[in-house]
Amino acid sequence: MAELIIPAIVSCIVAFFTVYLATPPLIKFLQKRNLAVKDMNKKDHVMVVRPGGPSIIAGIVTSELVLYGFFQINEILAIIITSFIAFVIGYVDDRKIMGGWFKPVALVIASTPIIFLGTYDSNLTFPLFGTVQIPALYLGLIIFMIPITGNTINSIDVLNGVASGFMIIASFSLSIALFILQNYEIAIISLPLGFVSLAFYKYHKIPSKIFPGDSGALTLGAMYGAIAIVGHVEIIAAIALLPAIINSFLFLSSMKRIVEHRQIKGKPVDHTEDFKLKATNDKTAPITLVRLILTGGPLSEKQVGCEIFKLAIFSGILAIITAFMMRVLI
């Protein structure tokens, strides 16, 4: 255990400072190239640059390579390659408008390194009841898991700071769960995700200086999914991600199909005169987590973000409780 402390500290420092130091020059570069979009939730005409994916992937790759220097295990390579493929897919979508099916289908490719490097265990472990061996189904689970986690994080990236803030809470909950389950190596491998998100949050929090874009959100989500598989904590990871899963579930069950946000005509959320967010009565608009939070009355963007973080903390606590329950068999 003691020999793991130094790699853990070094990789976390590298993860945090790579993103912390790489993001300001990236913001300047994107400003020069005029790669900015309008922040729809600001009263004034505020333009925010995107994508922040390049600094996020830089933080992930460098910190995981540092860890690979300490432990030469395929799990680290699987996480790096999966995250990088997800970044490339997101970057293509950032630069060129693709159809609604592009990201879910393309992210299947991102899951293949986990299969080819054999960094999975086909036993699915449940709390209280133990494990079930499902070899054929588990391969399907891997193929679906990366597109689901990637797109789920992407779908919650709707307000300033929400995707990165949510990822901080979910990833640290997952790391705590891995420590509880005494899966120390994967717990340490998972820590850079939280620190990368934390460093990016500094620039993404309200008022955002940069948006992660598809490349950033898909990278964070894909890495989270890859950690869940190689760490054999799929169920715990799903529980920590529940608010974002609810968002995707509500969206899909109201729209009845996979569709890009820009293709939706109805507005789920509108603005009051003082530019607070309010839920609309538009029946053609999708039901989303933000729309449900706003049914209690108009809230500022910051207040909605806080409500989402409260839900994320609640799910994180449930995930940690589940980790303790994994150690109990009935």
């Binding site: 079930v132 529980i239 608010p243 609810i246 579930f249 449900l292 409500e307 449930l318």
Partner: protein
Amino acid sequence: MKIGLFGFLFVMWILILAGGGILVTILGPFSISGYGDFDLLLTSILKAIIAIILVIVWILILSKLKNWIFKKEIKS
């Protein structure tokens, strides 16, 4: 509203735990024999089908639950 969302999260968590119990206790010991080399493949495929059905049932329950919990909020 806030309680509704927290309640929905909690019910999702309970359903995941219960679904895990069903998978392990019913699906875990399940096996097909008498087909030689195909035993493992057939068992695996059948387990996969049952698991997918369970997931569909889980989604349907959640969908009903969502409508029940949020009916008033969505209408308002």
